[in-house]
């Protein structure tokens, strides 16, 4: 069919122009992370710690997350970097490509832009073709820049060949997911569906290779010691995200997986083109599932409460799952915490300082290692001249101070995760404002709906979410911790209490958000500034000594950190009252104000 691709070049140029901000930001951010971390991680990893880190890559939990222990093959920094970074970067590039392609295919079609383009003298497949060409150009640019810059930033263990392979691996994986997104844009009749199917594919591929990599984790070490080229499991290799690791960049540098990835991309893209030629505009191959013709009873609950629940329910479930997963992923390293912390300055500071413990490396004036001192409460309690003894020293100091290393670790996790839990709590309260901005609130308030009870629904959701999030975090951490490392590693009562004490601080953030929605609807962004302040205060505050009053300017600074402090129910009760007070003032202001007034 002649003319099917007519004017592809012009369209491609136009698409690239449309992408100039969006994709440029993506690429720059990716480069900043991938290349920027090369020297940074080098500083942290190389040296005495590296052997331990390489060893750690064999941990099955870690293998399931970041891929096979490639670092073991050559024991170099380059290999370790690939081991840590390649899979997640490739995953991110995949996400970028899914957004890119769906934006130009199904989303354009849904918005009627595709129709306009088709009405011009363009070929039937030109739109898809130009989209795909755009993806090719974007990924090629990303690949080349990553390769060159990584080579420039890397040390001797990151050669040109390996660096270019790294870039190519990203680009090729990106194209595979571009092709899948193009395919699902043909199959599904709307952009949301295309996006959802593409992400499901991405997640399935991720877990498929996880399963495969775990199978090989045990035999990997033996294979390397026998001098064989380590193999990957077939489950890993049928997943593009497994195949990308098979390049063993900086650890052997195999190029053939790149060609397999490109071949896959071409085959999937060809199928997408074929289906595109077959179908009518606005049609898909997977029919839209018809929804409910009538509302369930709970949806129509008075004052919009049912609707509020519906609007936030899925996000809450997602966040709860995420919280369990985060808790569980931290649990997976519980067994190695002492190793991990002993060799990592930052974690050591974050975890130990607050318990009054300091592990200090003393060097001679010439800069050579001299000894390690363990301080507890300002006194040196033990010292050693053997750097290998740092782990024992650490364990001794922790026990001396009256704690266990797992408890201290859990305490740090709770502190950090409470910050994470703030985000959904704030978002649920902010949803009321988002609804107003989308001009949907007034439709609801035109019904017999009390404004206080309407906004109260969102406040309720935020207030209920807070303890739930903390609870599942505790369950995830404790559950997998005990499953992997035995029951004596943590006590559930302790974990639960350490998690739940943060609830009032989360409530304050929720209450503050409601106050902003009610009293200063145009300044709701302030809550994110305050959130960042909380974040910095905790992060920096754990390592240094802020005065108490300064800590107390953030709600989370009031919360006792178990096991160093005891739960003070009076203080927690007071914080809760503050949260409720903020919320009530917000509700009253909301009743008094106009809905959707841009000015005033």
């Amino acid at each position: 069919m002649k003319g099917n691709f007519e004017n592809t070049a012009k369209l491609t140029r136009f698409f690239l122009k449309r992408e100039r901000v969006n994709t440029t930001v993506w690429i720059l951010a990716l480069l900043a992370v991938v290349v920027g971390l090369v020297p940074g991680l080098n500083e942290i990893m190389v040296g005495e710690d590296m052997a331990a880190l390489v060893e750690m890559m064999q941990n099955p939990a870690l293998v399931s997350m970041v891929g096979p222990a490639i670092a073991l093959i050559t024991n170099t920094y380059g290999a370790l970097y690939t081991n840590f970074m390649l899979l997640f970067t490739a995953l991110t590039v995949g996400i970028m490509n899914i957004f890119l392609v769906v934006r130009h295919t199904r989303a354009d079609e849904e918005l009627g832009r595709y129709e306009v383009v088709r009405s011009l003298p363009t070929g039937r497949l030109a739109h898809l073709n130009a989209t795909f060409l755009t993806a090719v150009i974007v990924n090629a640019v990303l690949a080349v820049l990553t390769g060159l810059l990584m080579y420039a930033a890397g040390d001797a263990t990151m050669g040109l060949n390996g660096s270019m392979l790294w870039g190519a691996a990203l680009g090729a994986t990106g194209l595979v997911f571009a092709a899948f997104a193009a395919l699902f844009s043909q199959l599904s009749a709307n952009a949301r569906g295309a996006m959802a199917y593409s992400f499901i594919a991405l997640i399935v591929f991720y877990f498929l290779r996880g399963a495969g990599d775990m199978q090989m984790a045990a035999s990997w070490d033996a294979a390397i010691e026998a001098g064989e080229a380590p193999a990957m499991h077939i489950l890993s290799l049928i997943s593009p995200l497994g195949m990308v690791m098979r390049t063993y960049a900086h650890a052997g540098d195999y190029w053939w997986p790149i060609f397999i990835l490109l071949g896959t991309a071409a085959a999937v893209a060809a199928l997408a083109f074929f289906l595109n030629a077959l179908r009518d505009m606005d049609q898909g191959f997977i029919p839209d599932r018809p929804g409910r013709p009538e509302a369930k009873k709970w949806l129509t609950a008075p004052h919009g409460k049912g609707l509020t629940f519906k609007l936030t329910k899925n996000a809450l479930i997602g966040c709860l799952i995420g919280m369990v997963a985060l808790g569980a992923s931290y649990a997976s390293i519980l067994g190695d915490v002492d190793e991990f912390v002993a060799r990592n300055d930052m974690y050591r500071g974050l975890m130990l300082h607050i318990a009054g413990i300091e592990i200090e490396s003393v060097t001679t004036p010439a800069g050579d290692f001299e000894r390690i001192n363990a301080w507890v409460d300002g006194q040196i309690i033990r010292t050693t001249a053997d750097p290998e003894e740092i782990v024992e020293l650490l364990n001794y100091a922790v026990t001396y101070a009256g704690f266990t290393i797992s408890d201290l670790f859990a305490s740090m996790i709770m502190n950090m995760m409470a910050l994470m839990a703030m985000v959904p709590v704030i978002l649920f309260a902010l949803r009321a404002r988002a609804e107003e901005r989308a001009i949907r609130t007034e439709l609801l308030l035109a019904g017999s709906v009390c404004k206080i009870k309407y906004l109260g629904g969102f406040a309720l959701m935020a207030f209920v979410a807070a303890p739930l999030l903390q609870f599942v975090l505790a369950v995830g951490l404790y559950g997998l911790g005990v499953a992997l490392h035995g029951p004596e590693i943590l006590s559930f009562a302790f974990i639960l209490e350490a998690a739940m004490v943060y609830t009032p601080a989360l409530w304050v953030m929720g209450g503050l958000t409601i106050l902003l929605v009610g009293a200063a609807p145009r300044a709701t962004g302030v809550i994110w500034a305050y959130f960042t302040f909380n974040f910095l205060l905790i992060f920096v505050g754990r390592m240094g000594d802020f005065p108490t009053w300064f800590q107390r300017t953030a709600p989370i600074g009031w919360i006792p950190q178990l096991p160093m402090a005891e739960t003070n129910w009076l203080v927690l009760g007071g914080i809760t009252l503050v949260a409720i007070g903020l919320c009530l003032v917000g509700l009253l202001c909301y009743r008094k104000r106009d809905i959707n007034a841009v000015v005033g």
């Binding site: 509302a295 949806l299 129509t300 989308a438 035109a446």
Partner: protein, 296 residues
């Protein structure tokens, strides 16, 4: 007389900008009232004040005798609102939204709901994200007419409907009118206004410039006249209320103020009228005159 809507001395400021200036309106119960005016005149603002979504800066707005702001929750049990731009929740189906709106108002007639869905030809199983503008409007209209209420507040409710659906809409309004229900309708579609409305209020730049029945409004404007006479007409231009005289092949063409009609015909009679045509202004012309007046 009992009023469903009673607005007195209403001012509304957005910051320093005054959107409504001393608005006075009275709509009797059971009356169909058209609220018209150019873009940005303040129609939607007035309606939002009536709904208690915006608070009056000055003056009062009462619906069924209750304060529109303070008693909003009570009032809203008896009214249904349809805006011109209907924004819905993308992951709810049309059917779910209809049920939600109807149940928030209270009473619910299931058979009526099904009939309206059929009449408006809506697929209630589709997610709102996939609805066109017209379909979203249908969702709001069905939810409104399926509710048992006493007053319908409609703000350009048909701006996205096709002529067939426009007809269905007008039938729905007529049905409610015959049941004695009141309607407060803001619209730019003159045929709709002409067919449905008992009284009209015209707002320009935040001020209500006219209210009255269509006939009353017509009286304030000019009729077009064509006349042929046996003898040449003289002195017509000296009469009060005669405008834009033009000599055409078929006779004399000019516009007259309705109030002067009698005097003018008397004058013409003196020249032996052979043919006389007088055409009332079309609604469009009528509104055009009001929209432009003073501003010009």
């Amino acid at each position: 007389m009992r009023y469903s809507v009673e607005v007195t001395g209403l001012d509304k400021y957005f910051g320093r900008f005054q959107a409504l200036k001393n608005v006075n309106l009275q709509v009797a119960e059971g009356e169909v009232f058209a609220y018209i005016g150019p873009n940005g005149a303040g129609k939607s603002t007035t309606i939002r004040v009536l709904l208690g979504i915006l608070q009056a800066s000055k003056g009062t707005a009462r619906v069924f005798g209750q304060d529109a702001w303070k008693d909003a929750v009570d009032i809203h049990k008896r009214i249904a609102y349809v805006p011109g731009d209907v924004n819905l929740w993308p992951n709810l189906t049309g059917g779910e939204v209809i049920d939600l709106f109807v149940s928030l108002r209270g009473t619910y007639d299931k058979a009526l709901r099904q009939r309206l869905i059929r009449d408006f030809n809506l697929d209630p199983t589709k997610k709102c994200r996939t609805y066109s503008k017209g379909n979203r409007q249908k969702v709001a209209l069905i939810a409104a007419f399926a509710s048992e209420v006493d007053l319908y507040i409609l703000d350009e409710p048909t701006s996205g409907l096709d002529p067939l659906m426009e007809q269905v809409f007008q039938d729905c309004v007529m049905e409610q009118k015959n049941k004695g229900k009141g309607v407060f309708l803001s619209s730019h579609i003159m045929s709709e206004v002409e067919r449905l409305c008992d009284r009209v209020g015209i707002i320009r730049e935040g001020e209500v410039v006219q209210t009255g029945t269509l006939d009353e409004l017509r009286h304030l404007t000019r009729y077009a006249m064509t006349v042929t006479t046996e003898r040449t007409v003289e002195g017509l231009d000296k009469l009060a209320g005669v405008h834009d005289i033009a000599k055409e092949a078929y006779g004399l063409h000019f516009y007259v103020d309705v109030t002067q009609m009698g005097a003018i015909i008397n004058h013409l009679n003196g020249f032996g009228i052979t043919k006389l045509e007088s055409v009332p202004p079309s609604l469009e012309e009528l509104f055009m005159q009001h929209y432009k007046k003073e501003g010009a």
